[in-house]
Symmetry: C2
Subunit: 158 residues, 2 copies
């Protein structure tokens, strides 16, 4: 379904929570704040720390704090920290493609990958936690799912 992993989703939530201030928050505190299991949040924070998106402070009274200003953190980085490289296609250097000629088919994926990555890279954590999104053109009210019915009906009639 071309969906983000839950970890990536949690990751952004955790980052958004941390972005409220520059203070140190323990994993359990963040977990309580987000209403999630402490062990899960702990894992997520560890992953974020490995990529320096958050900085850890060890010992009692320790915890995590944002690694840098929310303006300088992109969604792409968070996704990368949680899920690894952002690529829509599988075939990645290991030449899983059976036929060279066929692989010309896949050239398009590169362009699409690029567009996705750019979108993810442009959006900063700072923009994300704003009450209103900077892009004001028509929001879909209730759902985050993109309405594809237009495409479907176009297909049926043709």
């Amino acid at each position: 379904m071309l969906r983000l992993s839950k970890f990536a989703d949690y990751g952004t939530q955790v980052m958004a929570y941390m972005a409220k201030d520059g203070a140190v928050h323990s994993a359990s505190e963040v977990a309580a704040g987000l209403g999630m299991a402490a062990s899960t949040i702990s894992k997520i924070l560890k992953m974020l720390a490995r990529e320096n998106l958050v900085e850890s402070v060890m010992g009692a009274k320790g915890g995590y704090m944002l690694g840098r200003h929310p303006k300088n953190i992109s969604i792409a980085e968070i996704i990368y920290a949680m899920d690894g490289p952002i690529s829509i296609t599988e075939c990645s250097g290991t030449s899983a493609c059976t036929r060279e000629s066929l692989c010309s088919t896949r050239g398009s994926w590169q362009g699409i990958n690029r567009i996705i990555q750019e979108a993810l890279e442009k959006e900063s954590l700072a923009e994300m936690i704003k009450p209103r999104h900077h892009d004001t053109r028509n929001h879909i009210a209730e759902h985050h799912i993109v309405d594809i019915s237009a495409i479907r009906s176009r297909g049926k009639s043709a």
Copy 2:
């Protein structure tokens, strides 16, 4: 990893194969042509047929043919046929969001979803099977994976 399902990948391959001509091809023929298991390809063709991306011809000498001109078939439709709605986020109308205030965080996802969908919608099957992609700006030679190292290093230094 924000990756496409294999089915979606196969789906585009099958469609690309069919797009070579307007003729009727049996599932087993397509499977042989792509070097894949007949049962798998059969399943994929059935899924494509349900969305009218291919038309089925029953009986002996039957098979499948492209539903319409490759120019009028978008990658988005193929993905939809194989994987269902294209949405990067999970929270989709069923209000899985624990906190309303937190959900402002997710407004950004709508914009990102939109961008992705537009990219997928713009790219037609016809463009995909062209030997060269219409978008000529720098291709990454070997991989389809997007190089995220630039992002990473930016993160480390900050």
